[in-house]
Amino acid sequence: MPNLSPFFVTGLAVGAIYALSGVGLVVLYRASGVLTVAYRAIGSAGALLAWPLAQDGLPQALAWLVAIGLATLLSLVYGRVLAPQLAYRDTVVKAVATLGFALILLGFARWYWSDDPRQLPLPTSTMGLSLFGVRVTVTRLIAFSLALLITIGVALFLNRTRLGLSMRALANNRDLSAMLGIRVLRVETWAWLISGVLAGVSGLMLSDLVRLDAIVLTFMVIPAMAAAVVGRLRSLAGTLIGGLLIGVLEAVATPFQAITPYRSVAPFVVAIIVILWLQRRRVITFTGDQ
C-alpha cells in the first residue's frame, strides 16, 4: 500500500479549486435559476486579460482588479441582457444557453490571445510550507482558505441579509416573488455581479494553480458541476465538502497503476453516486419542474 498522505494533501489543494468553482455555480443557481456552463469561461477570460497586462508592466494588483472587473462585466452582460430573454424557459434550456456564451468567450479568447505556453505567476507561489512530505505553496493555502471563507461568507449573506433573502425567494419561485414586490431585476443583477466576482477571483487562482489555457479552464466547469451536484445545488457546505472529496479521491488514486489513467473520472462517479443516493426514494407522479 503506497504512502497516500502526500496525495491526500495535494488532493485537498485540487479539491479546493473544485469547491471554489462549485460554490460560485451554486450561488448563481440559487439566486437566478441558471446553472451556467459559462462560469469558468468568464473567469478564464479575466485571467487571460490579466496576463498580457501584467507582462506590459502594469502593477500586479491592478492587473488582477482589471481581470476581476472583466469577469464581473461579462457576467453582468449575460445576466442583464441575455438571461432575461430566456427567463421563462426550461431550466435545462437556460443552462444550455449559457453554453452559447461560453463558446463565444472561448472562441474569442483563443483567437485573440494566441496559444503561447504560459502560466500566470502569483507572488504567493514562491512561499510555502511542508506538510506530510509535500510542499504546499501559499497560493494553494490561500485557495483552500478562500474556498472556506467564501462558502461561509456567502452562506451568511444568503441567510442573514435582506438581499440574500430576496435571492432565495427568487430562486424558489420567480413569479410569486415578483408579485410580492421583490425587485427582480435588481436582485438578479446583484446575483450575477457576485457570481462574476467569484468567477474572476477563482479564475486567477486557477491560472496559477493549473495553467492559463482557455480550453482547459473552460471545460473545468463540468467537474465543478459535479461538486455542485454533491451539494444538491442548494447547500454550500455540501458543495465545499463535495469538492474536497472529489479532489482527494482523484489524487489518492494516482499511485495505483491500474486506475491512474482513469482517475479523472472521480468527479463524475462521485456525482452519480450522490445523485442516485439522494433521489432513491422519489417517485414522480406529476409533471413539473424539479
Binding site: 502560466q119 509535500v134 510542499r135 495553467r211
Partner: protein, 514 residues
Amino acid sequence: MKKLSNHPMTRRQYSASTEVGLRKCLSWFVFIAMLSTLVIFVTACTSSSSTPADTAAEAPTEASESEAVQPTEATVSEVATEAPAEASADEAAAPTEEAAAAEPTEEAMAEKPTEEAAMSDALCGLGNGQEATGEPINVGAVVGATGPDDFSSAAKGAAAYFNCVNANGGINGRPINYIVEDDGWNPEQAAQVAAKLVNDDQVVAMVGNTSFVECAANAQLYEDENVIVISGVGVPRECFYSANIAPTNQGPRLSNLGMIQYAYETYGAKKITCMAPNVPGMAEWLCAGLAAWGADKGVTVETVFFDPATMDPTSLVLQAISSEPDAITVSTPAGVAIPIFKAAEEQDLREAYHWMGPTSLYDLDFPAAVGSYWDGHLDAQIEFVNTDSEGSDNQAWLKILDEYGTPDDPRDSFSQAGFLAAKIFVATVLELDPASLDRETVSEALRGVSNFKSDLVCGPWYFGADADLHNANHAGRIVQQVDGGWQTVTDCFEVEDPDLKPILDMEAAGGLVD
C-alpha cells in the same frame, strides 16, 4: 351569417401567426446578415496582414499597444535568443507583400535591403527575382490548428518558403498555390479536409502536415490516391509507418530516446521515468521504445501515463518520483509541461532528479514560462538545429520568414520542419518538366528523394520508399536551459532505437545517404 373565416377576429389570428412567423424569419435574416458582415470583416482584416496563400487565417494579436515592436529583423543572431516567439505580441507592422522580392517589408531591415534581398533570392527556388505567372500548382497541408494546441507553425514555415519561391520564378515559371486546412484535432474533420484537398483541389502533394490525428485518418486515402506527404512534424506512430507519409522530424520516440541516451552517458542514469500523455498510439509506443533500448543497457524505464487535461500536476510529479528514478523525461507539448515543471519547482526537486524532455519542450517561450529556477537543470533533445544557428539553411529560414512570413509566425522547430519539407519539395519538383507536372510524376519523384543535405538536420534526408518506416532524421543534439534561453550542449549524435535497424541496414546498402 358571416362566414367564420371572414370574421375580423379569425382573420387577425391568422395574420398574427403569420406575422409572428415572418417576424421571426426576419430576425434570422438580420442576424445572419450581421454575423456574415462581421465574419467577412474580421477575416478580411486578418488575412490582409498574413500571406494570402495561407488560408488558415491567423489573427495578429493587438494584445498590447504599449509593447514595443520587437526588432526581430535587426540582427539575425539575436532573433532566436531574444524570444522571437513573442512575435505574437508584435504589432503587424506592415503586411507582407508577395510582389517584388527586392522590397523589404520591415523598416528595420532597411539597413542593407538589396543585399539581404539578393541573398534570400538565391536561397529559394530559381532565385531570379521574377514573379511566377504560369498555371498554379496546387499543394496541400493538413494541420491541427484549432484545439488543445496550435500545430500550424510548420505550415507557416512552408508557406513562407513557397511565397519566396513564387516571387523568384516559381517552379520553372509556375507558382505554387499552397492550401492549408485545419483539422481541428478531429479525425472526422481531418478526413473531410483531406478529401477536399486530394479530390476537389487535386493537389499534387502535401507538404508540412502536422497533426495528431490526420496521419491515422488519412493514410489509406493517400495510398489509394497516390499522394505523397512530406510532413512537417509527425507525432503519432502512424506518421512514420504509413507508406505515403515521410516526416522531416524524428518523432517523440526517437527524440526521447536520444534524450535518455544522453542522461545515461552523462548523468549515469540507470532508472528513468517516462512521463507521457495518455494518448493511445503514442504514449505506449514512445515509452516502449525507451524500455526496449534500456533492456540492453540495464536501464529500467518506469512509465507514468496521464490525462493531459489533468488539473493536478503535483500528484503526477509525486507519482513520477515515487519509483526513485535518476532521471525523468517529460514527454508532452510545452503547454502541458509547464504546470508539471512548476509543480516540481514547488516541491524543490531539481537537485534530487535530472529533469529533461524531448524536442517539444524546445520552445523559446519555455524558459521564461518555467522560470530561472530551472536554469542549468533542464535538458531537451532537439530534432533540428538550434534556431539561432549560423548554418546557411537556418539563416535562410529566418530571413525568408521575416520577408515572406508574418511577424506572428512562430520561429520554432516546427517551423524549421515545415521549411525543410518545402525545400525538399521544391528542389525535387524543379527537376521535373513543368508542362507535365501532375500527381503521378511528383509522387514518383518524391518517393525517390535521397541524400538531401541541409544544415537543419544532422544527416541527409531521404524518403525511403522501400521500408515500412520513414524516419530519415534519426540524429539530434542536446540543449540545456541556461540564463533564460537555450544553450546547445552537444553535437549531433545518433539515436539508437532497436526499431531503426531495418532502415539503417537499408542506408548501409547504399544509395540513400552518402
